[in-house]
């Protein structure tokens, strides 16, 4: 097969994006058709590239000396990510066409959308660090552009996203420089290093850059802001789908190919700790949110923790779980944001207080939401269940019990918050404050993407063997990590052991917490709980919980848990935010102020500097000479 076809998934969307920019406004449906055709071509060629056997396709053009080459290589790992990315690109193009219809600046949005697709595909396929950075950094520009299209505050958020991503990318570039220094090559597939000394610094810095792209803490604070300020399809497209794919893919390449992370090595603990902290802190913040989109955005952060935790375990089950979770998360979180968009467009608001009872009015959206909500919560047999189980298995295998426990705590509150979200939106009484009184399911262009991806969540759950065997497993084949695990490579064989029971128990605990919370919140429309409340078994369970755990719940949820959640939100989350928004600005302001003071316009002053500088030069160049 001609390796030049690797250029198609990169160039076609970029060319279409540029065309969209210059398309005259009067051409109706031009941008939508252009976007659909471009993404369809990309999808087709992603599939063709995926089917290419052997070592995959490689396009190598020597560019300049100094090791900077135009080098694209689609072997098993990137071609699987490319296929996944192309799938999301086409579905989101369809959805966006309907969502952005008639909105101001929608032409610009489509242009950025297509440019992002091409650049992301380029970053996936690159096998040279400089080329990869070219695509990776260009994505910052389109990210900025897409966020800025939102509401009036969007410019601020876009700048924030740019600054935070810029700092993370700075770490990544520094790590790449170290890796280059150690290995002497910029070709990504030729780098094989031990994570020790400068190598450890390289690994940590590159890892931080990759994890920040995926939205891990502490580089996450712009995502919840963007959820409110940016146009909704952006959230489904970048933070939910493409950035997760890109970030975790890069983390995978770093920690599987360039470095090898052994179980319980310090690098493994580093990754697992970031994963565990991200899971727990983000989910606690998600729990206290009262806005559909904002709640989802915190989950987009929390779920990254599972992927990082899984990859960080350094055992095959965990790594497979982490990569599978990446794919699954992209699917269900994309669906969830798409349902959020449907609710926003139809009901006119995403505040939970003003929603309620939408399931009857918007059944298709409701079904898609619940499928995805069950998937993210790890309810069997949806896809999230299988990937989370693999992550739990991997974490338990390391023997450091704190990590699986953190993951389980995350599972409890994930389910609890989705019960709250689903309950408040789709069940209960329709709130009288809802701006649009008679919402209904949106048109096909918006429901098809939702349903297709939701169906995928079910298929990848029920037939989890397919993605595991054909997409994920090839990534690990032939790697040193598999030594001593040869017998356990059949990850799709489901083991009903105690780990599964613990996970199930977590779901039950979540359910109980939700039930109790609803009971306590009676009288508030968005906490109305009648449909579930009247089920007899639940009623018994609820009574049991009330009798046995009343004070603990009060103490736990209202006191410690709410306190902890708010503290985390106010101190840690806002604290990190303050570093970006206040401290850096303050330090910059002081430095500038001091220097400005000396630039007072006095000629004598300036002359004194010249003389001083000259004196130093004379001392250095003439006096100190041997």
């Amino acid at each position: 097969m001609n390796p030049n076809i690797l250029l198609i998934p990169i160039l076609v969307p970029i060319i279409a994006g540029v065309l969209t920019f210059i398309l005259p406004k009067s051409v109706k449906w031009g941008k939508e058709i252009l976007a659909l055709i471009a993404t369809a071509i990309t999808m087709y060629y992603a599939a063709v590239i995926f089917k290419a056997g052997g070592e995959g396709l490689r396009l190598f053009v020597p560019w300049t000396s100094f090791g900077i080459n135009f080098d694209l290589w689609a072997y098993h790992f990137p071609k699987f990510i490319l296929l996944a990315a192309a799938g999301f690109e086409i579905l989101l193009a369809l959805y966006t066409a309907s969502f952005m219809d008639g909105k101001e600046r929608s032409k610009e949005y489509f242009a950025y959308f297509l440019l992002t697709a091409g650049l992301a595909n380029g970053a996936i396929l690159s096998n040279n660090f400089v080329l990869m950075l070219f695509f990776w950094e260009s994505l910052l520009a389109t990210l900025y552009g897409m966020i800025s299209i939102g509401n009036k505050e969007a410019f601020k958020t876009a700048t924030k996203a740019l600054v935070i991503s810029g700092i993370a990318d700075f770490a990544m570039i520094l790590g790449i420089i170290f890796a280059w220094h150690l290995s002497g090559t910029l070709t990504m597939s030729e780098i094989h290093l031990e994570p020790m000394g400068l190598g450890a610094a390289a690994f940590v810095l590159m890892g931080l850059g990759a994890m920040a792209k995926a939205g891990a803490m502490p580089f996450h604070t712009w995502i919840p802001d963007a959820a409110i300020d940016a146009p909704l399809p952006f959230m489904a497209y970048l933070p939910a789908a493409l950035e997760k794919l890109l970030g975790i893919y890069m983390l995978g390449r770093i920690s599987l190919e360039m470095f090898t992370i052994h179980m319980n090595s310090s690098m493994s603990i580093f990754l697992m700790a970031i994963g565990a902290i991200t899971i727990v802190l983000a989910v606690m913040m998600a729990l206290v949110q009262k806005d559909y989109k904002k709640l989802l955005s915190f989950h987009a952060i929390s779920q990254v923790g599972y992927m990082i935790l899984g990859i960080g375990t350094g055992v095959p089950a965990g790594i497979v779980g982490g990569l599978f979770h990446m794919l699954n998360h992209a699917m269900y979180k994309c669906t969830l944001f798409l349902t959020g968009g449907a609710v926003e467009k139809q009901a006119g608001t995403t505040e939970l207080k003003k929603l309620g009872g939408l399931f009857k009015l918007m059944p298709i959206t409701g079904v898609a939401f619940w499928v995805a909500a069950f998937a993210i919560s790890g309810v069997p047999p949806f896809n999230g269940f299988f990937s989370k189980e693999l992550v739990f298995h991997g974490a338990v295998e390391t023997g450091k019990m704190i990590f699986p426990i953190a993951a389980w705590i995350g599972a409890i509150f994930t389910f609890a918050s989705f019960l709250k979200l689903g309950h408040a939106t789709y069940f209960g009484q329709q709130s009288s404050e809802m701006p649009n009184k008679a919402p209904k399911d949106p048109g096909l262009a918006m429901t098809i993407p939702m349903l297709v991806i939701a169906l995928g969540c079910i298929l990848f759950g029920v037939y989890s063997k397919l993605p595991l065997k054909y997409l994920i497993q090839p990534v690990l084949e032939g790697r040193a990590i598999l030594e001593g695990h040869a017998g356990h490579m059949e990850f799709w064989v489901f083991h009903l052991n105690w780990i599964v029971w613990v996970s199930m128990a977590c779901l039950v605990i979540a359910w109980l917490i939700h039930q109790y919370g609803v009971k306590k919140g009676q009288g508030q429309a968005y906490l109305a709980s009648e449909p579930i409340h009247n089920l007899p078994v639940m009623h018994t369970l609820y009574d049991w919980a009330e009798a046995r755990a009343f004070d603990i719940y009060e103490w736990f949820v209202n006191g410690l848990l709410k306190g902890a959640a708010w503290t985390v939100f106010k101190v840690v989350d806002r604290g990190i935010d303050a570093v970006y928004e206040r401290l850096i600005v303050f330090v910059g302001g002081v430095a500038t102020g001091v220097l400005k003071e000396y630039h007072n316009g006095l000629y004598a002053n300036y002359l004194a500097w010249v003389v001083g500088g000259f004196a130093l030069l004379v001392i250095y160049l003439a006096v100190l000479v041997k």
Binding site: L140, L162, Y606, F614, L621, V625
Partner: protein, 493 residues
């Protein structure tokens, strides 16, 4: 042939005051035509020079009783093209912009005089002629800074003059020391004589004088203080010329010629240049962050960007030189673009105080778009041209084991992005400021000039391998040969 680069602008400069009396539009047409011709002439040399040739001209060959010559190599050609390119767009821009200043005849005369001085400076092969052309360009630029004749402008021009005098005194002093020791001013002859039994301390003093003098012309920290006053006070096309071209020709080019071609870049000078570059990079960027005057911010940013070029040239490795020369060219394109945009904003709104601007992006679509392109270029966002040259400099620094300096360079480029985004937000985005409701886009020729320069920033970025091969590589070869051919190192390695 080479003489044409000096004679044509000089002759046109002399004609300008006369033709402006014939017809009001004539100076515009002649100015643009002259610069277009200069550009065509310099571009036509690319083929010969990139093939590795040098063009020489000697006054003795045409029977003049002068010991003077001209030489065109890769390095001079790069500067020659930069001068003509930026001058052409500055001239086009001036057609509308200089309308309300009046006295276009004298304006173009001074402008062309400055161009003639710069062209002579990059072509000459001996120290004394270098000094003469340096002063020709400088005197023209003092007058141009004060062209508006308001209080601030005259004061800035005077301050500029007074500090430049210090620089030229230093340069002249160093030249006389060298003449005293060697009895010649010719680069080639000097290169073969320097280091053979001369007083090392005296040569060190000369180098310090050159670094101070040319460093002041190039506005390196701590010799930079005149620039933030002088550049914003000049009319916008002149600011673009000063920041985009003049500081590079009379500062960077002259310094590089002297320390490379004559002294072969001694290790101590290399070290001193890297430190001066780092100081300029950081201090320029930090002060730029706090500026509320659009053009003043750009002026500080020039100091910061000059730092990158000096660091690259100070390194002296082929990659470092290449990055520095490429950045020199790129900075000329985007900084002159940004100064022209600042001028356009002032022209349209009547102010360049960022706190009084706001939300004019929709009113000034072309200015706003081109400023954004300039911002992306200067902050080093791919695929704009600034990204590639900064990348080359940073890669060169890492390759030469200056990882710390590389980190500072990356950090500074984040700072750059920061203050340019602040500027964008204050000037073009957000709510429309009070009193700016009737703002209209600038006239055709001003918009045309900025549009062309913005397109150039993008095209150079997209086709950078071609540009580096044709333009930058010959310059790099010329400079590398200068160090290689003259392996003299005063202070040991």
């Amino acid at each position: 042939m080479l003489l044409l680069f000096i004679v044509i602008p000089l002759a046109m400069a002399a004609l300008m005051p006369l033709v402006s009396r014939l017809w009001k539009g004539l100076p515009d047409i002649l100015g643009v035509a002259t610069m277009a011709a200069m550009l065509a002439l310099s571009l036509s040399q690319i083929r010969l020079i990139s093939a590795g040739h040098r063009i020489l001209w000697d006054a003795a060959a045409i029977g003049l009783p002068l010991k003077a010559g001209l030489m065109l190599d890769g390095f001079s050609l790069l500067l020659l093209i930069t001068i003509s390119l930026i001058s052409l767009f500055a001239c086009i821009y001036s057609i509308n912009y200089m309308e309300h200043y009046g006295a276009k005849g004298s304006y173009y005369a001074l402008f062309l005089l400055m161009v003639a001085g710069m062209n002579g400076l990059v072509l000459t092969v001996d120290l004394f002629n270098m000094y003469v052309f340096l002063e020709v360009a400088a005197v023209a630029s003092y007058a141009l800074v004060a062209f508006g004749q308001k209080h601030d402008e005259v004061e800035a021009a005077f301050k500029y003059l007074m500090l430049s005098v210090v620089a030229t005194t230093g340069i002249l002093l160093a030249m006389s020391f060298i003449y005293l020791m060697t009895g010649t001013m010719n680069f080639k002859e000097l290169a073969s004589m320097v280091g053979t039994g001369m007083n090392v301390k005296l040569i060190g003093l000369c180098l310090a004088l050159f670094l101070m003098g040319f460093g002041l012309k190039a506005a390196m920290v701590p010799f930079h203080a005149w620039l933030p006053d002088a550049h914003p006070s000049a009319p916008a096309p002149i600011s673009a010329m000063l920041s985009g071209v003049l500081i590079k020709v009379s500062g960077i080019y002259a310094l590089t010629r002297v320390v490379y071609d004559i002294f072969g870049l001694p290790a101590s000078v290399s070290q001193a240049m890297i430190w001066l570059g780092v100081a300029s990079m950081v201090i320029g960027a930090v002060i730029a962050l706090g500026q509320n005057d659009f053009k003043r911010m750009l002026a500080y940013s020039s100091i910061s960007q000059i730092g990158y070029i000096v660091v690259g040239l100070g390194l002296g490795t082929p990659l470092g030189i290449m990055g520095a020369l490429f950045h020199l060219f790129n900075h000329a394109t985007f900084k002159s673009l940004l100064f022209l945009d600042a001028g356009a904003t002032e022209y349209a709104t009547g102010t360049r105080d960022l706190s009084k601007l706001g939300g004019v992006g929709h009113k000034l679509p072309i200015t706003s778009l081109t400023t954004t392109i300039g911002t992306f270029s200067i902050a080093g966002i791919p695929p704009f041209n600034g990204f590639w040259s900064k990348l080359l400099i940073i890669v060169a620094l890492v390759e030469a084991n200056h990882v710390g300096v590389a980190a500072i360079a990356i950090g500074t480029s984040i700072l750059t992005l920061w203050y340019f985004l602040l500027m964008q937000r204050k000037a073009f985005f957000g709510k429309l400021a009070v009193g700016l409701e009737k703002v209209k886009e600038v006239p055709f020729y001003m918009a045309l000039a900025t549009f062309c320069l913005a397109t150039l920033c993008l095209l150079v970025g997209l086709f950078y391998p071609w540009v580096t091969a044709k333009l930058i590589q010959p310059g790099m070869t010329a400079l590398s040969n200068a160090i290689g051919a003259n392996g003299f190192s005063m202070f040991g390695q």
